[in-house]
């Protein structure tokens, strides 16, 4: 047979294969939403909360008449009032305004490094799972080392070496974050590797990279989406903890953890300084956790809750 014709047949057969595998485990976004709306109403409420936070972060300059770094010493530590809904801080700055701007930092640090570590972890996990052998062993040993690191201490060591600041918080979180994802995706890949359609694809001569990207990746996606949603809240918590210890985002930038940290000095005179950003962290983390739980039940019931 003519080689080009052969390639053509391969691609047609392969298309049907991936179609077959797609219908078995992948769902339309609309149907996922519908199932969430019937069985997991909290997840829908959570989505609304998340959207509100994102809108608040994006439109912060429009939503508030104050500047986040405008110091007004004549109005220090003012309790919550109509003018300043969450009061003012030790520099007379409006707490609500700082929270809106702070949500930019907290959301970006919650989402972007998590996305990067999920992408990295997925690629590494699929390669380890599919290739097996020495590659697998080597990758998993490195993952073991990363996972046996006390996370907060590693973050602190990296921050010590590189200095505080948003970029370094980013780096630290990717450095730590990929290993957990890689582990789960590897396990999933090992399972999928034995499935009939992957075997069939291998038999008709589909290249390895293509099998990984076209046949294994789409079937790992539900798991990956759930992992991503559930990893965001822990990233937000890590960032706020680092900033709370003074090793994360540096002033004059506003982040929720940093606001709590500076507010702690005034805990007994002006508790709103601490508790307003705390409530924001709680709300966004709860929202992502509830959404993640709902998505897991709908997309991937086998993934254990931990």
């Amino acid at each position: 047979m003519d080689p080009s014709q052969n390639a053509n047949v391969t691609s047609v057969v392969e298309g049907e294969l991936s179609l077959a595998s797609a219908t078995t485990s992948f769902e339309e976004p609309a149907s996922v939403l519908r199932r969430l709306a019937t069985d997991h109403k909290v997840a829908i409420v959570s989505t609304v909360v998340i959207v509100l936070f994102v809108l608040g972060a994006v439109f912060a300059p429009v939503l508030t008449p104050y500047q986040y770094d405008a110091i007004n010493l004549s109005n220090r530590l003012a309790p919550p009032s109509l003018e300043h809904l969450f009061g003012t801080d030790e520099g007379g700055r409006d707490v609500l305004t700082r929270m809106l701007y702070g949500s930019r930092v907290s959301l970006v640090i919650g989402i972007v490094p998590t996305l990067l570590s999920v992408v990295l972890g997925t690629l590494i996990g699929m390669v380890a799972g599919y290739y097996g052998g020495k590659v697998d062993t080597a990758i998993m040993r490195v993952a073991d080392i990363v996972m046996s690191f006390p996370t907060m201490l590693l973050a602190m060591v990296v921050m010590y070496t590189l200095g505080g600041g948003t970029t370094n918080v980013f780096l630290t979180m990717v450095l730590v974050g990929w290993s957990g994802v890689a582990r789960v995706v590897r396990a999933e890949t090992l399972k999928l590797k034995e499935s009939e359609y992957v075997e069939a694809a291998r038999i008709i001569g589909v290249r390895r990279a293509r099998i990984i990207l076209r046949h294994i990746l789409p079937n790992c996606l539900p798991t990956i989406i759930v992992l991503f949603t559930l990893d965001i809240p822990s990233s937000i918590l890590t960032e706020s903890s680092l900033s709370f210890l003074g090793m994360g985002v540096q002033p004059p930038s506003a982040s929720w953890g940093l606001m709590v940290s500076t507010g702690r000095e005034f805990l007994y005179y002006a508790p709103w300084l601490c508790f307003a950003p705390c409530l924001a962290i709680m709300a966004i983390v709860l929202a992502f956790n509830y959404l993640g739980d709902g998505l897991r039940d709908v997309l991937d019931p086998h993934l254990q809750s931990q």
Partner: protein, 311 residues
């Protein structure tokens, strides 16, 4: 059979050792990437070059990095982690008592986590789908979602500052552990409760539960003798891993409640740019975590006859 068990154990011990050395190497390199000579930083700007060089060489800092690392590992194997730059004592003498304080805190927090977590998870599983279930699961998710510093400050504000029931910070007697233990343990209690619930619900659907009921066992007997016993398997693993996490993850709790443990010592080490001390605390915490994971693996092997006989 037992041969494969021993083989398994040896392999796992080897992996554990590799992990610890790997982390030690990583920390070693990271801490030496900091620009500038640490000795010069410590002595201040008035120190002359000669003094800096003399002290650097007496600390072995003028040798190549691999030699320094080899010396460090050899020393660590003998329990010698170097001398703290800022506190003027051997690191081993500093991390010992600190670790003891952290250990007490971790035990207290683990008690909170295990008792509350298992009780909540079990009740939620039995009353699946009811208000009780939602309430307990909400409480658990809240524990997982709240930042530790928030819980710690809230407890401090309410019970110590406002109600004057418990000490604000510091440890003078056992009452000092109550608030930190709750702050640190709630999150772990949350994840244990969630795992217990899903695990018990899964076990209750198995055939042998029906068999036990058919044999005339009461509901309580079925629950305790059959369901809980089997459902605890993944939970025990999680508990072992969490305990090592509690031992190494108490940085914020210790800072807020002024407990002189490993976490607070690490923060002090960073503030004072005290490299040997920071190296000592991270190495100790890594050791604890790796050992925790090893124990979790072994417990799983011992508790599950299928795993024991299988691979």
């Amino acid at each position: 059979m037992s041969g494969s068990l021993v083989h398994n154990l040896v392999r796992r011990l080897a992996y554990a050792f590799i992990s610890i050395v790997g982390v030690a190497a990583l920390v070693f390199v990271l801490l030496r990437m900091v620009p500038g000579n640490p000795v010069a930083t410590l002595l201040g700007e008035h120190a002359d070059n000669e003094t800096v060089e003399r002290i650097s060489s007496s600390l072995g800092l003028d040798q190549p990095l691999p030699v320094q690392f080899a010396n460090y590992v050899l020393g660590a194997l003998h329990g010698d982690f170097g001398e703290s730059y800022t506190l003027g004592k051997p690191v081993s003498e500093l991390i010992g008592p600190a670790f003891l304080n952290t250990l007490w805190l971790a035990i207290a927090a683990a008690l909170v986590a295990w008792v509350v977590g298992i009780a909540c998870g079990l009740l939620a599983a039995i009353r699946k789908g009811t208000v009780v279930d939602r309430l307990f699961m909400g409480f658990s998710l809240l524990g997982v979602s709240l930042p530790v510093f928030m819980v710690a400050m809230l407890l401090q504000y309410l019970f110590a500052r406002y109600l004057h029931w418990l000490p604000v910070a510091g440890i003078t007697d056992w009452t000092g552990y109550i608030l930190p233990a709750i702050a640190l343990g709630w999150g772990s209690a949350g994840s244990i409760a969630r795992l217990v619930r899903s695990s018990v619900i899964e076990v209750l659907q198995q055939d042998y539960i029906d068999t036990a009921r058919a044999k005339g066992r009461t509901n309580t007997q079925v629950l305790v003798l059959h369901a809980l016993r089997n459902a605890m398997l993944p939970v025990i693993t999680l508990m072992a891993m969490q305990f090592s996490g509690l031992l190494s993850g108490a940085v914020i709790t210790e800072t807020i409640f002024s407990i002189n443990g490993i976490g607070r010592l690490s923060v002090q080490a960073i503030a004072g740019r005290d490299i040997p001390l920071l190296q000592g605390t991270t190495l100790l915490c890594t050791f604890v975590i790796v050992m925790g994971n090893l124990v979790a693996d072994l417990l799983y092997n011992v508790c599950d006859p299928r795993v024991r006989k299988g691979a």
